[in-house]
C-alpha cells in the first residue's frame, strides 16, 4: 500500500475481481482486505468519487497533452479545466489566435504595400476587422474542439470546473454548470499555467488598457497604441495593429528588444526592420505612471537611468511586461506546497513537488513559459509515472517570434557564451544570397551559427528571416543530437529552398559559404 506513489492498475484490478467473487474473500491478504474496504467504502456516501490514476488540474497545453498521453498509456485520467474550452492560454487567447491575426494582417499589409512590384494590381483594399476576428475564432474553436475529441478517443474524463486541493489526494471541483464534485487521484498533476503580469498603477480593463487577451479582441483599430514591454508578445501584437493601421510605440526598459535569449545582433536587426515597417521604439525608457480615466490613456515615461519625463497619449495601451505563474485558488497552502519568490511551484528534476505524487509542469513552475516546453514536460511527467524515465533537454528549447520577418533561436547566444568564457566561432548567411528568398522577394534577414571553436559542436542557432520558425526545427535537432556545423553543412538540402541558407550558414562556420 505504500507503493501508491506509482500507479498500480494491475494490483487494483485483481482486487476488484476478488470483490466481485465473494468466494475469494477468504483468501484475501490483510492488505488486500484493506483495499477491499476502501473500495466498498468508496461506493458509500462519504467518498462518492472514484480514485483516478492521474488527476490533472488545468486543461492547457501542458495539462491536455499530459491527459492524452496518460490515456494512451492506459491510466485512468481526469482533466479539470475551468475556462470552458480546452487548450489554455495558448489555444484560446495566446499563440493560436495571435498567429491567426499575424498571418491575416500580414496578408492585408502585403496586399496594400507589396503586390504592385510583383505584377499584381489590386483595387480598393479594405479591412473587415469583424471578419478577421471571426476567422481567428474559427481557428480557435476548431482546435479546442479537436482536443475534446482527442480526450474522448483516449478515454480522458473532462471535468469542466475549477479545481482546488482538499487534501493531498483529493481535488474539489466547483463545476462550471453549478454544483460541486470531488475527484481523488493516486497522482495529481498541476498544470495551471500563467497569466499576464499587470503593470502597477494601470488597471487592466481589456478595452483601453489591455493584456495580450484584450489585444487579440479589439473591436476597432486604435489610432495610437503604446506597447509597454518590447518582448515577444509585445512585438507580435504591436506588429498586428501596426499593419492594420495603428501608430504603435513600443516602450522598453532595457536597451534592446526581443527579451531574454535573443541574440543582440539579431535583436538590433529586427528592430531596424520593424522600425522600417512603421513601429516606433523607445528603449532604455521606463513607464512611471499611467492614467486611463479620460477618453484615451496617458502614459508618463522617462529615461530608465533618470532623465526628462514626457507624456505619451494612446487610444490603447498593451501591457506586455511578462507573465506570472497562475496558482490562485488552487489551495496550495492547504497541502503545504510552496512557491518561490516568482510564484513558481518548487519541483525536483522529475517534476515532483515535495509531496512525491503531486507533480507540476508548464508555466507554473521552472523554465521558459513556452507551450512546446510545456508539451515536452507533459509527456516526460507521464513517462516518469508509467515508464520511470522521461526526457526534456532544457538546452534545446527553441524560441520563435512570429513577426515578419520571423525571429527564431535555439541554444546559447553570443552574450551568454562571452559571459561563460566559451571560445566560439560564428558563421552566418544572409537571405539576400538565397535563391528562394530572392524569388519570393523576401530577402530580409540571415542565419547565424555559433559553434565551439575547438570541436565545431553547435552551441546556438539564430535566425531572422522568412520561415525562421519552421527552419529552427533543424537547428534544434542538430543541437539535440550534438551535431557539428560540418555535419549540417555536409547534409544535402533541397534546391531552391530557404533551408539552403541554413546549410550555407553552417558551411560558413567551419569553411566558407558557396553563394556568399
Amino acid at each position: 500500500m505504500f507503493k501508491q506513489l506509482i500507479p498500480r492498475a494491475t494490483a487494483r484490478s485483481s482486487a476488484l475481481r476478488s470483490i466481485q467473487h465473494p468466494s475469494h474473500v477468504s483468501r484475501l491478504s490483510p492488505s488486500t482486505s484493506l483495499l477491499q474496504d476502501r473500495i466498498v467504502q468508496r461506493r458509500g456516501y462519504a467518498t462518492p468519487a472514484e480514485e483516478k490514476d492521474l488527476v490533472i488540474i488545468g486543461g492547457g497545453v501542458a495539462g491536455y497533452v499530459a491527459a492524452i498521453k496518460a490515456g494512451q498509456e492506459g491510466l485512468k485520467v481526469a482533466c479539470i479545466e475551468k475556462r470552458g474550452s480546452l487548450g489554455g492560454t495558448c489555444l484560446n487567447v495566446g499563440c493560436i489566435p495571435s498567429k491567426s491575426l499575424l498571418e491575416n494582417s500580414r496578408i492585408y499589409h502585403q496586399i496594400q504595400h507589396d503586390v504592385k512590384n510583383r505584377g499584381i494590381d489590386v483595387g480598393d483594399v479594405k479591412l473587415n476587422l469583424t471578419q478577421m476576428m471571426k476567422a481567428k475564432d474559427t481557428s480557435v474553436s476548431g482546435l479546442t474542439k479537436g482536443i475534446e475529441f482527442l480526450f474522448k478517443k483516449n478515454n480522458v474524463e473532462y471535468i469542466k470546473g475549477a479545481g482546488r486541493f482538499e487534501d493531498q489526494n483529493t481535488v474539489a471541483v466547483d463545476l462550471t454548470d453549478g454544483g460541486n464534485s470531488v475527484v481523488r487521484g493516486k497522482n495529481i498533476l498541476i498544470a495551471t499555467g500563467s497569466e499576464a503580469t499587470p503593470f502597477p498603477g494601470l488597471e487592466i480593463d481589456e478595452k483601453k488598457v489591455v493584456t495580450s487577451n484584450g489585444a487579440i479582441a479589439l473591436t476597432e483599430v486604435p489610432k495610437k497604441m503604446i506597447v509597454i514591454g518590447g518582448g515577444i508578445i509585445g512585438l507580435e501584437m504591436g506588429s498586428v495593429w501596426s499593419r492594420l493601421g495603428s501608430e504603435v510605440t513600443v516602450v522598453e526598459f532595457l536597451g534592446a528588444i526581443g527579451g531574454p535569449g535573443m541574440d543582440a545582433e539579431i535583436a538590433k536587426s529586427i528592430q531596424k526592420t520593424l522600425a522600417k515597417q512603421g513601429m516606433k521604439f523607445m528603449l532604455n525608457t521606463k513607464v512611471t505612471n499611467g492614467d486611463a480615466s479620460g477618453e484615451g490613456v496617458k502614459i508618463d515615461v522617462e529615461a530608465a537611468k533618470g532623465g526628462k519625463a514626457q507624456t505619451l497619449d494612446a487610444d490603447v495601451v498593451l501591457c506586455a511586461i511578462g507573465r506570472r505563474p497562475y496558482t490562485q485558488g488552487l489551495g496550495l497552502d492547504k497541502i503545504g506546497l510552496e512557491t518561490d519568490s516568482k510564484g513558481r511551484i518548487v519541483i525536483d528534476s522529475e517534476y515532483r513537488t515535495k509531496i512525491p505524487h503531486i507533480r507540476v509542469i508548464g508555466d507554473c513552475t521552472f523554465g521558459p513559459m513556452l507551450a512546446h516546453k510545456a508539451e515536452e514536460e507533459a509527456v516526460a511527467a507521464v513517462e516518469y509515472l508509467t515508464k520511470s524515465y522521461g526526457h526534456v533537454n532544457y538546452n534545446a528549447i527553441p524560441a520563435v517570434m512570429y513577426t515578419h520577418p520571423e525571429v527564431a533561436w535555439v541554444g546559447q547566444n553570443e552574450q551568454e557564451l562571452k559571459e561563460e568564457g566559451v571560445k566560439y566561432k560564428v558563421g552566418s548567411f544572409p537571405f539576400t544570397a538565397n535563391s528562394r528568398a530572392k524569388t519570393n522577394l523576401d530577402t530580409e534577414g540571415m542565419v547565424k551559427f555559433l559553434a565551439d571553436a575547438e570541436t565545431d559542436r553547435i552551441l546556438g542557432v539564430h535566425i531572422i528571416g522568412p520561415n525562421a520558425g519552421e527552419m529552427i526545427a533543424e537547428g534544434t535537432l542538430a543541437l539535440e543530437y550534438g551535431a557539428s556545423t560540418e555535419d549540417v553543412g555536409r547534409t544535402s538540402h533541397a534546391h531552391p529552398t530557404l533551408s539552403e541558407a541554413f546549410k550555407e550558414a553552417a558551411m560558413s562556420t567551419y569553411a566558407k559559404a558557396i553563394h556568399y
Binding site: M1, A46, D348, F366, Y389
Partner: protein
C-alpha cells in the same frame, strides 16, 4: 566513390547512431534540483516531508536510516536554507530513491498486520459527516 572513401577516412561526424534504445535497469529517482531551477539544491522541506512521510511497512527499515540521515543533514545544514546530501547517502529522504518493485513486497510479514489507524490518512476510514448520518437516519430522505 573514391572521394567519399577518402572523406569518410578523414571526417568524423559528431552525429552517430547509438543503436537500439535501451532503458537502463537502474535509474536514479532520488530527488535532484530541476535543471531549470534557479538553485542547485532543493528546499529543506523536501527532505523533511519525505522523512516524515515514511513510517510503516517495507519502507520502515529505510525510514529509520533516513530519519537518522535527516537528523544528520539537519545538523549539518542548520545554518543554511537548503539541504545538501552527505556523500554516499540518498538525498532528500528515501522516497523516490528506488522503484516500487525494488522496495519489495508490500504485504506484511507473516503474523504481522497493519493497523488501519496507523496508515496514511487517505487509507483510513473517513469520518461520517452530519449530512451522511442524517441520510442514514432518514433512510435517504434527507438527500432529496
Amino acid at each position: 566513390m573514391q572521394p567519399t572513401r577518402i572523406l569518410r577516412a578523414t571526417r568524423q561526424p559528431l552525429i552517430k547512431f547509438l543503436g537500439k534504445r535501451n532503458v537502463p535497469k537502474n535509474i536514479d529517482h532520488t530527488p535532484h534540483a530541476h535543471p531549470a531551477a534557479p538553485n542547485d539544491s532543493l528546499p529543506e522541506s523536501f527532505a523533511q516531508y519525505r522523512n516524515r512521510a515514511i513510517q510503516h511497512g517495507p519502507l520502515g527499515g529505510q525510514q529509520q536510516q533516513t530519519g537518522q540521515r535527516a537528523q544528520q543533514q539537519q545538523q549539518q545544514s542548520s545554518a543554511s536554507s537548503t539541504v545538501a546530501p552527505p556523500s554516499g547517502m540518498e538525498p532528500y529522504g528515501g522516497i523516490g530513491g528506488k522503484s516500487g518493485k525494488q522496495l519489495g513486497d508490500i504485504q506484511p510479514a507473516k503474523g504481522q498486520f497493519f493497523d488501519r489507524d496507523e496508515l496514511p490518512a487517505r487509507f483510513r476510514r473517513r469520518p461520517f459527516s452530519e449530512a451522511e448520518m442524517e441520510a442514514v437516519d432518514s433512510a435517504g430522505a434527507s438527500m432529496w
